[in-house]
């Protein structure tokens, strides 16, 4: 996820200043610092609020500091599966009779876990013998029992009741997403429905019920097929990323490896929830037509009752320095594409701000260096873009350049033209005009980002979670403005090197018969 890059968000600060000047009623508020109201509950949950009374609506972004990085070997995809399960309801929402349902769910989990284990073993044994797997008597028995229990459990379910309540009350944009570092739950509502949100969300923070677990696992498998297995870009980035990160969890796909998804258990999912979904690991940003005092009272009455969880376990594994270029090819029935990544430091590191400048100079807009050279002038590429914080922000990550060649040119030609431009960054200082364009663009983008309640809520909760405080945005713009041309040369020379690089290439699979796509002339 995380399409909000460091650079993009800085402007909130500028915005705040702008707003302060422009909105009558807001005079005397010289900065964002004065518009964001921060409240911390005794249990550790953080609430960030901004009042905007233009329309009677409110956007909420609830962000937890948990994601793919918090998973164990053999359980990849767990953070994402939990996010799906969080919509299955609680002891009151989504059920006709929780007491009775619980007993069935317990049996179902036991039988399902045993069935998974035996099926896995029998499949492995059959594979070793070179035979197709034939389910044993025991497995067949378990399958029958599983089916019965699943049907019985289904009798208690009120399907999608939580989402239904939101929709019925006029909620829009209901969604959730899981990334490497964070998991987010978002909704926009008519402003007077915030108590509904507080009731539903505090209930699921305290008492979620993992009903319809095995069905949802099937849904996630379909999601994996859609996003990754059948998607040329999905597969390219999964393989590219796991090549670049060999130790750190960033190398593991957030959706999970297929075999892991199919082995996830209700018990592991429940444990994951208990470890990572305490109020002390949550930040909620609320922007819109609100009265902060009333919001605080509401949140204290609801979330305030939930006890803090133990601090979340710290991460151990670090990615060792890369010593030598890594190259990987992915064959697919699709036209070629290219991804180049360089390891770099994480958010807040002085060099990260320099990368924000490099990112803009290289690919932002049609006058940027890579676009004007590769696409417009040399006509080697159909598209080019870059990302400064791939695939996550909290740990050291990658600066990525992605491009598609324009036939008959090849990924190799695009790659070498890209390196020429990267070398130019090392040898020539960027011009004052380029730098001015970068700053103008950042400032304007950030003014624009204040047009949206949900966008502002997203930024505040994002930075509070990944950088420790939303105030990170208050000085980031100044840090970028202070970057010098010499910094750019130094950082380019230090990080944009061959041994530090990973290259992924999507290669068109040898054509079979009639599926020949439309050919180049």
């Amino acid at each position: 996820m995380i399409s909000i890059t460091g650079a993009r968000t800085i402007g909130v600060l500028i915005l705040a200043a702008v707003l302060a000047a422009a909105v009558p009623g807001q005079a005397g508020s010289p900065s964002l610092a004065d518009r964001v109201i921060e409240h911390k509950l005794a249990n550790g949950m953080t609430v960030l609020m901004v009042e905007r009374h233009q329309a009677p609506i409110v956007s909420v972004n609830m962000t937890f500091g948990v994601g793919g990085v918090n998973e164990q070997v053999g359980q990849t995809g767990l953070a994402h599966l939990y996010e799906h399960m969080a919509f299955k309801g609680t002891r009151t929402v989504g059920t006709r009779d929780y007491e009775r349902e619980q007993a069935v769910l317990d049996d179902l989990a036991m039988v399902g876990t045993e069935l998974d284990r035996r099926e896995r073993e029998e499949t492995a044994r059959a594979q070793a013998d070179g035979k197709p797997p034939v389910p044993s008597q025991t497995v067949q028995q378990l399958q029958r029992r599983f089916k019965e229990l699943q049907e019985k459990a289904g009798e208690y379910v009120v399907g999608n009741e939580m989402a239904l309540l939101y929709q019925r009350h006029g909620g829009v944009g209901l969604n959730a997403s899981t990334g490497k570092d964070i998991t987010r739950y978002v909704i926009s509502l008519p402003a007077n429905r915030l108590p509904l949100w507080a009731a539903l969300e505090s209930d699921r923070m305290a008492h979620p019920v993992l009903r319809e677990f095995y069905k949802e696992r099937g849904v996630v498998m379909e999601e994996r097929r859609l996003r990754t297995d059948d998607s040329p870009n999905g597969l390219l980035y999964e393989t590219f990323t796991s090549t670049a990160f060999q130790a750190h969890q960033y190398g593991v796909p957030t959706i999970g490896w297929g075999s892991d998804i199919l082995a996830l258990t209700p018990a592991a999912t429940e444990a994951f929830f208990k470890t990572y979904y305490g109020p002390n690991n949550a930040t909620v940003a609320i922007v819109g037509d609100i009265n902060p005092k009333e919001v605080i009272a509401l949140i204290e009455q609801t979330f305030g009752k939930i006890p803090a969880a133990p601090p979340i376990p710290s991460l151990v594994t670090e990615e060792p320095p890369q010593r030598g270029e890594r190259r990987v090819e992915i064959e697919f029935d699709a036209e070629p594409a290219l991804a180049i990544g360089y390891h770099k430091p994480t958010i807040g590191h002085p060099d990260d701000f320099v990368f924000d400048v490099i990112d803009e100079v290289l690919t932002e807009g049609v006058t940027s260096r890579l676009y004007s050279t590769l696409v417009r002038d040399k006509r080697l590429a159909a598209s080019v873009l870059s990302d400064t914080n791939y695939p996550g922000v909290r740990a050291p990550n990658l600066f990525v350049i992605a491009a598609t060649p324009l036939a008959p040119h090849t990924t190799a030609e695009v790659e070498s033209a890209t390196y020429e431009e990267l070398d130019r960054l090392k040898t020539e200082p960027i011009s004052a005009k380029e730098f001015e364009r970068v700053l103008n663009g950042l400032d304007a983008d950030l003014v624009r980002s204040l047009r949206s309640n949900s966008g502002l809520a997203s930024q505040l909760a994002f930075y509070h979670t990944v950088a420790g405080t939303w105030r990170y945005v208050l000085n980031a713009r100044d840090r970028i403005a202070a970057v010098t041309p010499a910094d750019v040369q130094r950082v380019a020379a230090q990080y944009l090197t061959k041994p530090n690089r990973t290259v992924g290439v999507l290669v068109k699979k040898a054509q079979d018969k009639k599926m020949a796509a439309e050919v180049a002339r």
């Binding site: 996820m1 929709q167 009333e294």
Partner: protein
């Protein structure tokens, strides 16, 4: 700056874009783009809280009277909507142009699209392409021009301090585009690369092939560019297409942001006032010909994938049809409303067979619309999913929806109505759309009133009349050999072969 990070989210995000938002599937789901217009007192809730059980909470409907825009017509016929909004120091000018790819000659499909693209990139009478790009990016202004099927659009978004200069460039590109040869060539190369890449993903194949299956391959709503059609387009064609179709009396401007109305009108008269009228034809899309539009068909495209991409549906009514509102709510209950819908609950929640599943109703005032059910599912569950599509469709026809379902659909519609009017640009954008389509300015309110009056009988009648099992066309993209067997129970299966371009 753009992210390539993999995103994993709970439900597939729909494209929010496009000027046709009000008729896209899902009905009104406009994201909040907030600008200050009316200072509304905060709605307190403390007193309304009678229960902590979210299932029984009740709230009053939010009342909101959005501000109205002013409409001015310049002497040359250009229509201008203005709505001031002084929250942020920004000005946005959107234009809808009475042109579009429905005007493409049969042998030059792609002409309109390329004209719009190169109007933006090809420079103007006074500035080279590079000068335009350099200046706009130095000002951090964003400008776009693009021509779709039934209309063109252009937009300028600029800091208030740069309005005058931005508007000059904008007007210059609209009125006097230079179509510089090198940029024409670049656009053609890009278009050819797009053709080359359009069979890469099954999702792209299924959407385009299904349109062709319903409308026929030469109809303006389905036809596609080809290597030959792009090759045949010349700079002179672009110049002529612009000259023939872009006229001030075919343009509706919507101006929102931090300006004073009188000053803005003076600027607009300077920029556009001396532009002479031209001849503007009404949008005319041919009806789909013949009776074969009404027969069921089963087709597949062979692509080496793990999932089958399914589309099942048929052509349907226009937005102005008296049955439209009832069909829209029937579709909402069947599969249009994500979590709340029957298809989502049946195929995704209860059976775990798909991540993305639902139905859609796309209707316009010009053209027969499309109603369809869609999903992606693994090969082995393909048949079951199609069976569920048919069964759910039949249930909509054969029995009335429940009181609860209808109540939920109405409440969701009425309670989210406020999200249709959250910003000056969304208010003005809607007025522009409605005027362009010849619909009354309170069209949305009329629809809301009709939704509220719907009965279960209305819904069933609409489902019976407009979800038609005999007309269903089934398209599956996926593993070919297996698909021909799996789909056999639904009719005679034929393959669509994607032929290489000559």
């Amino acid at each position: 700056m753009r992210s390539v990070s993999p995103e994993v989210s709970l439900v597939k995000r729909e494209d929010g874009g496009g000027r046709r938002m009000r008729t896209d599937r899902g009905w009104v789901s406009v994201l909040a783009m907030v600008l200050a217009i009316v200072l509304q007192a905060t709605v307190g809730w403390a007193a309304d809280l009678t229960s902590n059980d979210p299932r029984t909470m009740r709230f009053p409907t939010v009342e909101f009277n959005p501000p109205d825009a002013e409409r001015v017509v310049l002497d040359n016929g250009m229509v201008v909507y203005l709505l001031e909004d002084h929250e942020l120091p920004l000005v946005t000018i959107n234009a809808t142009l009475r042109t579009g790819s429905w005007l493409d000659p049969a042998d030059k499909v792609g002409l309109a699209g390329m004209t719009g693209a190169v109007m933006r990139t090809g420079g103007s009478a006074g500035m080279s392409p590079d000068e335009v790009d350099e200046e706009l990016e130095q000002l951090a202004a964003s400008m776009s021009i693009g021509f779709a099927k039934e209309s063109g659009s252009a937009s300028l978004d600029v800091l208030k301090k740069d309005l005058k200069r931005g508007l000059q460039i904008f007007a210059d590109l609209l009125r006097r585009p230079a179509f510089e040869q090198s940029r024409v060539e670049l656009a053609k190369l890009q278009a050819l690369e797009g053709i080359r890449r359009r069979q890469d993903s099954p999702g792209s194949i299924v959407g385009r092939e299904f349109a062709k299956l319903l409308y026929g391959p030469t109809h303006p709503s389905a036809r596609e560019t080809s290597v030959r059609s792009i090759d045949g387009i010349t700079r002179e064609d672009l110049v002529a297409f612009h000259r023939q179709t872009v006229h001030p009396n075919g343009i509706i401007l919507g101006v929102t942001g931090d300006f004073e109305k009188a000053d803005m009108l003076a600027l607009l008269r300077d920029a556009f006032g001396d532009w002479a009228k031209g001849s503007v034809p009404p949008v005319t899309i041919p009806a789909v010909s013949g009776t074969d539009a009404n027969t069921g068909l089963v087709r597949f495209v062979n692509k080496d994938t793990s999932q089958t991409h399914l589309r099942v549906g048929h052509l349907t009514i226009k937005e102005t049809d008296p049955d439209y509102v009832a069909v829209a709510i029937a579709n909402d209950i069947l599969g249009g409303s994500s979590f709340r819908s029957r298809l989502f609950n049946d195929v995704r929640t209860q059976r775990g067979l798909a991540y993305s599943v639902g139905s859609g109703l796309r209707a316009s005032v010009y053209d027969e619309g499309v109603w369809l059910m869609r999903a992606e599912t693994k090969l082995s569950s393909t048949q079951e999913v199609v069976n569920r599509f048919v069964a759910n469709m039949e249930r909509m026809r054969n029995e009335p929806v429940t009181d609860t379902e209808l109540e939920e659909a109405k409440e969701a519609y009425v309670n989210s109505f406020v999200f249709s009017f959250t910003s000056a640009s969304s208010i003005v954008g809607r007025l522009m759309d409605l005027e362009y389509d010849g619909l009354p300015k309170d069209w949305l309110q009329q629809i809301r009133d009709r939704v509220v009056k719907l009965t279960k009988e209305d819904i069933q009648r609409a489902a019976k009349a407009h979800f038609n099992p005999e007309r269903l066309r089934i398209l599956a993209v996926g593993s070919g050999e297996a698909l021909s067997k799996v789909l056999g129970s639904f009719g005679e299966v034929k393959e669509i072969t994607l032929v290489p371009e000559s």
